[in-house]
């Protein structure tokens, strides 16, 4: 990106605006989650879904009226991928024979159709899944906090976990806003976002730590700014390659992983932003200082402030 020796771009100059944007986005997301809620997929709510392929594209209204006449209520009929493919979702989860019944009902009208896939999830399984997933997300955050806290310093731990929560909440907010289906694959995407965003945050944090130890002059402001400047090319390139792949996945991966790719695309963009503005910003706010990062001085050893060296086994590798 910027190989020339120009003055480091003043990233932190935008920090007030960025903070405002982040806070607004997070608050809006939480509000959306509270008001509209997530459109949970069947994995979580329980229910029955039937995917059918018609020989000729059917009128969805007709399909709906056929089902209503047959006595079903609380169902959704929509096209799935192609106009000959129809997805019927029912919230009812007590009856595990629903799928074949629906096929019978719909084919009784004389339409030629075949069952592509059907799914039935009991509501109890769905509830447990919701709990387990929430737990998995929380656990992931706690483990990250502990690891980074140990490996770097506690302030860095906070500064790496908060952006993760920030990213997850915003992605959830977007899903709530558009009422996209939130299913298991999207959950996997959320966890991948945690991994990815963390990756980004750690790289920036690592450089901040290194610069604090190396640069003996300069305010925290300058050091953080410089660190972001030094890593920005890498941040953009890695996000670029990941986004390129995700776009391929989004356009070619098919319906089943469409939302997965979408969640990740949003997550990568937000995650890249948050590793710069949320994480570094937090470090500023918490007033990270050189003293926080000093390698504990061993008595009588000179130059204990040396930057961290890669472990010795690496050089043998």
């Amino acid at each position: 990106m910027s190989d020339d020796q120009k003055q480091a771009f003043d990233f932190m100059g935008f920090r007030k605006i960025a903070s405002a944007i982040s806070i607004i986005l997070v608050v809006a997301s939480i509000a959306l989650l509270g008001m509209r809620g997530l459109n949970f997929g069947m994995d979580f709510t329980g229910g029955t879904s039937v995917e059918l392929e018609y020989a000729q594209a059917p009128q969805l209204d007709e399909v709906r009226s056929t089902l209503t006449e047959a006595g079903y209520d609380q169902f959704v009929v929509q096209n799935f991928g192609a106009d000959t493919i129809v997805l019927v979702r029912l919230s009812e989860s007590g009856n595990d024979q629903l799928a074949p019944e629906i096929v019978d009902t719909l084919s009784a009208t004389g339409n030629e159709l075949k069952l592509i896939s059907s799914e039935f999830v009991g509501s109890q399984v769905g509830d447990e899944l919701k709990e387990d997933s929430g737990l998995a997300l929380l656990l992931a955050l706690v483990v990250v906090l502990i690891y980074v806290g140990m490996r770097f310093q506690f302030k860095f731990g906070i500064a790496s976990v908060v952006p993760l929560a920030h990213d997850v909440i915003i992605v959830l907010g977007v899903f709530a806003l558009f009422q996209w289906t939130f299913d298991l694959t999207v959950l996997a995407a959320l966890l991948a976002i945690i991994g990815y965003s963390l990756n980004d945050t750690i790289v920036v944090a690592d450089r901040i730590r290194e610069n604090f130890r190396k640069m003996r002059v300069g305010e925290s402001w300058d050091i953080i700014n410089e660190s972001i400047h030094q890593t920005i090319a890498r941040t953009i390139n890695t996000s670029g390659t990941t986004l390129v792949v995700l776009l391929a996945l989004y356009f070619l991966g098919g319906e089943a992983i469409n939302k997965f790719a979408l969640a990740l695309i949003i997550g990568v963009v937000v995650g890249t932003y948050s590793s710069i503005y949320v994480s570094a910003n937090l470090l500023m706010v918490m007033g990270v200082s050189r003293e926080d990062l000093m390698v504990p001085a061993k008595e009588g050893v000179e130059g204990s402030e040396e930057e961290e060296q890669p472990p010795e086994w690496l050089n043998r590798m």
């Binding site: 059907s118 387990d132 656990l139 945690i194 690592d206 990941t242 792949v245 995700l246 997965f260 890669p310």
Partner: protein
């Protein structure tokens, strides 16, 4: 010397790449369409004679046979197309009859030299090959309740036998039995008896109003033992039944403490699968009819193994499989195989009453099967499949009663260990230990599976090429290095998954795609670091060296944290999330190897050990 890898280091990398190549290779050979023949019972042998009959039947139908193999317990016939495969199954089934199960299968076509090294392709998950997925839940409360009922009956019977009078006794709540007595003396007597025999209960003497009571409470350990038994028992039963379905490579697996996953690749008819899984195969114990018995009181049955052999049995049923608590294959004092049967209290009573006066007569164990048979009829030249429900009863054992039987007895006179083991299995499979119901079900059509594979492959391919281009344009010469490392990474990832025989699912493919995107991160970090070092004016050789070693700390921290998240995903997630986590975990490890070592090795080979003026790493400064 700077930037020179010693020979052994290069050799290790080379060996890793060669091994990776070999184990990733089988995935390039497409699977063959095949039909698999197995014996319907463990005693049925699949030999070359059977295979020849099957092949002849196929040839007479004009179905081309690619090759055939005979293994220990099954035979595999490979065919050339999916159409042939669909036609072949009914043809082979018709030729071989009901003693054999014919299933559709996909046979890996790994060349034998690869197979001899233990290499094989990745398994495809249900979402990629089509099939049915069920999640069944075992009703544990009922399992514990049934056990309590049985024990309470047993205790009351023993009290009667010991002439200890009790006023009442009932199961209370979910894990208590409460017995009440008239006076202190009988209660003490009963207490001693129960304490001797039922140490799985916590005993408590208490009074309720004017009643003196003994409360038996199942201990926590015993409750979990019952639950465990119920789950294992149901797993066995379900496995047994899945085998009856004739599905190649079915999966029956425990999930959590009370659920069972059943995956049946290739099965499309969920209704049939559910009927069989939920079916209640059962047993009946009946006495052999006396010679002079009226024919209205007897019934003729044939043996399950030998259709010609028959026996006349009484119409009265002594007990059923629902009364069998457990059955084990064992050996008698002469080392002959036998089956030890434990009946529950009701069954024990019934058995005792019936056999007390029938010593010397023979008792039969009758196996009752509810099956669905698919019949293929030719209607107007088109084969039409129809199903019908069949109840089939066959004698599995007819043995002389040597003494009055109680709640545990044994069946001897069995021919072989497998026969005894199978009888025990059938006896156990006769009834589920606890009721089960379906809590999740997923059907994936074969066309959808193929579509998913195609979509997945397309996106991996395109994503991969785009990343290669991106790196090439941005980093020039070093981009090539990163691209080689990325290719090695993809190869190693596939090799690792094949070696671990991990199952590839759609989310798994997504995981691979994501790994491809993120794997270059290590190299991007290193290259940016090298550029920076160059900018600060040090020589290219030094820049390479410090670029690699300084970037390491960041790469290590970033990957370890991501790995932690992936491991949590694997431990906590289920189904699709797990598949994704596996690929992500492996991908992180292989990408660290390829990003750090493989790329370093190449860079060293190109630039190491000589004077270098400039590096081909893209950007203005590097090319000065």
């Amino acid at each position: 010397m700077l930037n020179k890898y010693p020979l052994w280091k290069n050799l290790i990398i080379l060996v890793a790449i060669v091994i990776g190549f070999i184990y990733a290779l089988p995935n390039l050979f497409p699977d063959d369409y095949a039909v698999q023949i197995t014996g319907a019972r463990s005693s049925t042998e699949v030999n070359s004679n059977v295979l020849d009959r099957a092949i002849k039947a196929l040839e007479s139908d004009g179905i081309e046979v690619k090759s055939s193999t005979l293994e220990d317990r099954d035979a595999l016939i490979r065919l050339t197309s999916s159409d042939d495969q669909l036609r072949a199954r009914p043809a082979v089934q018709a030729a071989l009859g009901r003693d054999y199960l014919v299933a559709l299968n996909m046979a890996p076509s790994t060349p034998s030299w690869l197979k001899s090294m233990g290499a094989g392709p990745m398994k495809l998950g249900l979402d990629l090959r089509g099939g049915v997925h069920f999640l069944l839940e075992v009703d544990m409360d009922t399992a514990v309740g049934q056990r309590l009922e049985a024990v309470s009956g047993q205790i009351k019977r023993e009290l009667r036998e010991e002439r200890i009078r009790y006023r009442g006794g009932d199961v209370q709540g979910t894990r208590d039995i409460v017995l009440s007595f008239r006076d202190e003396a009988t209660r003490t007597e009963a207490f001693d008896l129960i304490k001797r025999q039922y140490n799985e209960f916590l005993l408590d003497q208490r009074t309720d109003g004017d009643e003196l009571q003994i409360a038996l409470t199942l201990s926590e350990a015993e409750v979990s033992a019952i639950r465990k038994y119920a789950l294992e028992q149901n797993l066995t039963t379900i496995r047994n039944r899945v085998n009856e379905l004739g599905v190649a490579e079915p999966l029956v697996q425990q999930q959590g403490s009370n659920r069972i996953i059943v995956e049946l690749p290739g099965v499309q008819d969920t209704a049939q699968a559910k009927r069989v899984l939920g079916a209640t195969a059962n047993l009946e114990f009946r006495m052999e009819a006396r010679q002079d018995a009226a024919s209205s009181e007897t019934e003729q049955f044939s043996f399950r193994d030998e259709r010609q052999r028959t026996a006349r049995l009484e119409r009265d049923v002594i007990a059923t499989g629902n009364n069998v608590a457990n059955a084990q294959q064992a050996f008698d004092e002469n080392g002959q195989p036998q089956v030890s049967i434990t009946m529950d209290s009701v069954g024990g009573d019934l058995m005792n009453r019936a056999t007390r006066n029938a010593i010397g007569r023979r008792m039969a164990v009758l196996f009752i099967e509810f099956r669905t048979e698919t019949e293929t009829k030719m209607v107007n030249g088109e084969p039409v499949e129809s199903e019908k429900r069949v109840v089939e009863k066959g004698i599995i054992s007819l043995a002389t009663v040597q003494s009055a039987l109680g709640s545990s007895f044994r069946i001897t006179g069995l021919d072989s260990i497998p026969e005894a083991a199978e009888l025990a299995l059938l006896l156990r499979a006769g009834a589920l230990a606890a009721p089960m119901y379906f809590v999740q079900e997923r059907t994936i059509g074969p066309s959808l599976g193929q579509k998913n594979i195609d979509a997945g492959m397309m996106s991996v391919g395109l994503g991969f090429i785009l990343v290669l281009l991106y790196m090439l344009v941005y980093y020039r010469g070093f981009g090539v290095v990163a691209n080689i490392a990325l290719t090695v990474n993809l190869m190693l990832l596939i090799a690792c998954m094949s070696i671990l025989s991990a199952t590839l699912t759609l989310p798994g493919i997504a995981g691979i795609v994501l790994t491809v995107g993120m794997a270059v991160d290590a190299n991007v970090l290193i290259f940016e670091r090298i550029k920076e070092e160059l900018k600060s004016g040090i020589s290219p050789q030094l820049a390479i060296n410090s670029g690699y070693s300084r970037a390491f700390v960041s790469i290590f921290d970033a990957n370890i944290t991501t790995l932690l998240v992936a491991v949590i995903l694997f431990a906590m997630g289920s189904g699709p999330v797990k598949g994704f986590a596996v690929t992500l975990c492996i991908g992180i490890l292989t990408s660290m190897f390829s990003g750090l070592m493989v790329s370093r090795s190449i860079v060293n080979m190109v630039y190491g050990g000589r004077r270098v003026e400039k590096l081909s790493i893209g950007g203005k400064l590097a090319n000065v």
